[in-house]
């Protein structure tokens, strides 16, 4: 059985509040994950969800701004942040020491990465191709990997590869008997890719502690209306659906899927039904209103959380411009652990007309 979700190993600090926002346990009673009623979440989880939600909201605005002023690709600002992805990710056991859960945040929203400990500045660096983190300038986009924090990014193809990779990671957890699970966000059409089926089949067969969230987003011309529930049934794995549900219900549903996963009952596939465009932050606001009404968080703490999130994002976008671009040498980051990357001689001195090799034998005696 798993540690209660939300029990992160380390947490970041809410700057304006001077205390940790992750590293929390649920203090409220465990609600039925399938129940219709909105069971309160513990105060610290609630604070986290509020903070992360505000961060996402301000980040969205900030990215649009930066794109407008040419500091980011407009292509990269063309995303739909879905606050529910944050809630889903936060229901996992996020850690900072390489021993928590794993998450592939998908490409649609930074929410899950934020929930797993990424900072707004890191998100922006990646979008802006800045060279101050190991990979932002090399692969960038919405996606990067930080094994320590459990973020498994991939800005590559939508072929279901991350379901395979996270299935394998989950297999490792299971093999070692660890209380860890993996969460992967995929988009709808990815289910058309054979690679996704192979990953899902494997995960189902070995009962890997894996949760696959299918973000049922913008229909593309090439998406058939796959019946995800039938697909899940064909792999004998559990299925859930998230629609315009309250944060509380989403959180508990995922927490419960996580519990099933780590206790060996196998993967769950969750379909995330798209929100009406105008609703994208309504669930956040409803949640905030509820926690204040319930007295879990006072209005003044809520205001502090909001302004702390705003400050963090402002700080990040302000600092982004001052950060150095990558150095060209970063293009030569090693592709092998033990090799110095080779620069073509045209970037260096030309070879001498008859390049003399070292005379010493490179061949071992054998």
């Amino acid at each position: 059985m798993g540690t209660p979700p939300g029990d992160a190993v380390n947490g970041a600090e809410i700057p304006g509040l001077g205390r940790r926002v992750t590293g929390l346990v649920i203090s409220g009673p465990a609600g039925s994950p399938r129940g219709r009623s909105v069971t309160p979440l513990g105060g610290r989880v609630a604070e986290d969800l509020l903070y992360l939600g505000f961060q996402g909201r301000f980040l969205e605005a900030s990215v649009r701004n930066l794109a407008g002023s040419g500091l980011l690709d407009t292509g990269l600002s063309d995303f739909g942040i879905d606050v529910r992805t944050t809630v889903i990710a936060r229901a996992m056991r996020c850690g900072q020491d390489g021993r928590g859960d794993l998450c592939h945040p998908g490409l649609r929203s930074p929410g899950p990465a934020l929930a797993f400990g990424a900072t707004p500045l890191e998100v922006l660096r990646h979008l802006a191709r800045k060279g101050t983190t190991p990979a932002s300038a090399r692969t960038g986009g919405w996606s990067w990997t930080d094994v320590r924090r459990g973020v498994m990014g991939w800005g590559g193809a939508r072929g279901g590869m991350m379901t395979q990779v996270l299935a394998g990671a989950a297999l490792a957890f299971k093999q070692r008997g660890e209380d860890r699970a993996a969460l992967v966000f995929e988009t709808r059409a990815t289910l058309q890719a054979g690679g996704w089926h192979e990953g899902m089949n494997l995960a189902g067969a070995v009962r890997a502690p894996l949760i696959v969230v299918v973000e049922d987003g913008l229909p593309s011309d090439s998406s058939e209306e796959t019946d995800v529930e039938a697909v899940a049934a064909s792999y004998g794995v559990a299925f859930e659906r998230v629609a315009e549900d309250a944060h509380e219900r989403v959180f508990r549903m995922v927490a419960s899927a996580r519990r099933r996963a780590v206790s060996g009952e196998g993967p769950t596939v969750i379909v995330l039904v798209p929100l009406a465009e105008e609703d994208s932050w309504a669930l956040h606001d409803d949640f905030a209103a509820r926690v204040v009404a319930r007295g879990d968080v006072t209005q003044s703490v809520l205001d502090d959380i909001e302004s702390a999130a705003a400050t963090a994002v402002d700080h990040a976008s302000g600092r982004l411009n001052k950060e150095p671009g990558p150095s060209a040498r970063d293009a030569l980051a090693p592709v092998l652990t033990d090799a110095v990357p080779v620069v073509p001689w045209t970037r260096r001195d030309p070879p001498s007309p008859a390049p003399p090799p070292s005379t010493q034998r490179a061949v071992d005696a054998d």
Binding site: D73, R129, K130, G131, S136, A137, R138, T139, G140, G141, G155, G156, A157, R158, G159, A189, T190, Q192, A193, G194, G195, S220, D221, S222, S223, E224, G325, P326, S327, A328, R329, D330, A331, L332, A333, V335, P341, V342, V343, P344, T346, R347, P350, P351, P353
Partner: protein, 340 residues
């Protein structure tokens, strides 16, 4: 229901200059009008008109049975295209980015490439799409894919450098009875300096034949695609010092026109290969050993190459520019060889 051709497939009929991308669109349109066996498959190529809008307007004109929006399953629809080709159709498959041809690697190398040899008949099929770096696409939207297929007997690989060749070579590829991988460099798609008025007739350019892009005598540069332009820029700079470079634009990489390379090498005695793709295992190696096999005595210096660095394509602009071969790289290598 036949509709008017949209503007981007009507440049030549209107007597206007066409971009590289428009030349591709024109070739597809004309071949579909000419031969009802020709049909298109790909992701979002129908209503959406394709990621680069190559097939905008095609659905209206040719209908959904000849402009097929596929699921995201490059292996599956390439396999299906092979089945349709077996039955006498002539599929043209679009990869949204050619980087995504990798899930189709299995079916292309094992099933499609071996068909004729297996006695299963030819598979006339074109797999086309955008390739190449310089567009800040990062490692998964910037690749060149020729070396994934160059080692597979039974495939042809075409990589044009200008609108005229693109149109003529794509028409040849569609009419060819063999499977063809057709690479279109994104950096050429809308490049203004590439725009040109195309011949008004139904011309084709034969596969397997290189083209002399520039006549010269001091050094042969063998190249293709966007690098033809980099090499021409380098040649212009070298010309200021009286160095006259001959540039061979391969156009088709497989089969390789080694005869054209050898003839030029005989004249110049020096050979430089320029490719945008990464270095190790690039096409330069095969050209080098073929020239060893048939033209060793004419070599007045080593066969050298200018290529990208052995690394994934970086995402940031600064890094990508450093990663890619530059005009200056070509100039440096050319000078070195000429002075050798």
């Amino acid at each position: 229901m036949p509709t008017e051709a949209p503007p981007h497939v009507n440049r030549t009929r209107a007597g206007e200059a066409a971009t590289f991308l428009e030349a591709i669109s024109e070739a597809l349109w004309e071949e579909m009008e000419r031969d009802e066996r020709v049909f298109l498959m790909g992701e979002d190529i129908g209503a959406y008109g394709g990621a680069f809008k190559v097939t905008r307007g095609f659905l209206d004109r040719f209908g959904p049975s000849r402009v097929i929006d596929t699921p995201i399953s490059e292996g599956g629809f390439t396999g299906a295209a092979a089945g349709a080709a077996h039955m006498g159709l002539r599929p043209v498959v679009e990869m949204q980015f050619m980087d995504f041809v990798s899930p189709a690697y299995d079916v292309l190398t094992n099933y499609i490439a071996t068909s004729l040899y297996r006695g299963a008949g030819p598979i006339p099929l074109v797999v086309r799409g955008p390739v190449g770096g310089g567009n800040r696409g990062g490692p998964f939207h910037s690749q060149n894919v020729e070396m994934a297929f160059f080692h597979t007997p039974g495939l042809k690989i075409v990589y044009p450098s200008n609108p005229r060749d693109a149109k003529g070579l794509l028409k040849s590829s569609i009419r060819d009875d063999d499977p063809v991988i057709f690479e279109e460099h994104k950096g050429l798609y809308r490049a203004p300096h590439c725009r040109e008025v195309l011949p008004p007739d139904d011309y084709v350019i034969p596969l397997g034949r290189a083209r002399t892009a520039l006549e010269g005598e001091h050094l042969t540069i063998v190249t293709y695609g966007l690098m033809v332009h980099r090499s021409l820029d380098a040649a212009a700079e070298l010309a200021r010092d009286g160095i006259r470079v001959e540039i061979i634009d391969l156009r088709t990489l497989l089969p390789l026109d080694e005869e054209a390379v050898a003839v030029s090498l005989r004249k110049t005695g020096k050979l430089l290969i320029v490719h945008e793709d990464t270095r190790t295992g690039g096409i330069a190696g095969e050209i080098a050993i073929r020239m060893n096999e048939r033209a060793f005595e004419w070599l007045d210096g080593p066969i050298l190459r200018v290529t990208a660095i052995d690394s994934p394509v970086p995402f940031s602009g600064e890094l990508e520019d450093y990663f890619l071969p530059s005009v200056q790289d070509v100039v440096t290598a050319a000078r070195y060889l000429v002075e050798y």
